[in-house]
């Protein structure tokens, strides 16, 4: 069990598909016998998936037009009219 804690960085890389293939095989061998690490892999993966769900927020239209006029004013101030 103690060994598991040393693996956490590898587990994160593994979940992201960024672990070297030789280390991958080692970790997979460990995962076969270690339920907690299997749960860790699954739940860390799901943590990111859940965060990506839901529709992405977009800048509301009125806010964007307010922003655009503020930017235009600032631009004129800086560069003069063009």
């Amino acid at each position: 069990m103690k060994e598991c804690n040393k693996q956490i960085e590898q587990i994160c890389d593994y979940v992201d598909g960024e672990l070297d293939s030789s280390l991958c095989r080692e970790l997979e061998a460990h995962l076969k016998d270690c339920k907690n690490c299997r749960i860790m892999v699954d739940s860390l993966r799901q943590t990111v998936i859940l965060c990506r769900e839901g529709k992405p927020e977009r800048l509301p239209g009125e806010l964007e037009s307010r922003l655009n006029s503020a930017l235009k004013r600032r631009w004129k101030k800086k560069f003069g009219k063009k």
């Binding site: 270690c34 749960i39 860390l44 990111v48 965060c51 800048l59």
Partner: protein, 195 residues
């Protein structure tokens, strides 16, 4: 026209070029500001301040990073100046988030299964939002940039001005802390269901 050409034009005073440079970043910066501040008014201020500062400092942009990374750095400075890290949780030492817990013989972790069976989508989103908002910015910012905005580690490191190793470690801690917050809620919910 590529980014470099647009930057040159913008630096010479071409407002259309500037607009082309920022058009893809407005939503992203707004999303980040919303996630971190949790309210629209603050997010609006941050977006506005970020792009105004980008205008003020456009001549100082030296193309050492991408324009987007430069914008993020400005936005993050604004967020820091405005919000600070009020009422955020303190993260535990990293060992306490790990699968083995403290020592050998640690308790078995809760197996998530499919969280969508425990909560409706809307409830899940709320839970994610509130959990992310509890994290100190120094952890939530790199996590959001990496996994929600899908920037590379190098880009995130450039935006938050930390080494790649330090950036990776912050992202990992955020992920572990979030995992644990969610796990506690899921476990409680699953137990309620059984009863």
């Amino acid at each position: 026209m590529n980014e470099n050409q647009l930057v040159k034009l913008a630096q010479a005073g071409d407002f259309d070029a500037f607009n082309l440079l920022i058009v893809g970043h407005k939503d992203k910066i707004y999303r980040l500001a919303m996630k971190l501040t949790g309210n629209r008014e603050d997010a609006e201020d941050i977006v506005q301040e970020t792009f105004l500062k980008a205008i003020d400092n456009i001549d100082k942009f030296r193309r050492e990073s991408s324009f987007g990374t430069w914008l993020y750095a400005i936005a993050l400075n604004n967020i820091k100046a405005q919000a600070g890290d009020r009422k955020k949780m303190t993260l535990k030492p990293i060992e306490e988030y790990l699968p083995g817990g403290h020592e050998a013989g640690a308790a078995e972790l809760f197996d998530w299964g499919d969280p969508h069976k425990l909560f409706e989508q809307k409830q899940l989103q709320k839970l994610i939002e509130s959990s992310l908002a509890k994290l100190p910015h120094k952890y939530s910012v790199p996590f959001i940039l990496r996994y929600i905005e899908e920037m590379s580690i190098d880009e995130v490191a450039a935006a938050i001005k930390l080494s790649v190793a330090a950036t990776k470690s912050r992202i990992m801690r955020a992920r572990l802390a979030l995992r644990e917050m969610l796990s506690e809620v899921f476990k409680e919910r699953a137990n309620e269901r059984v009863q």
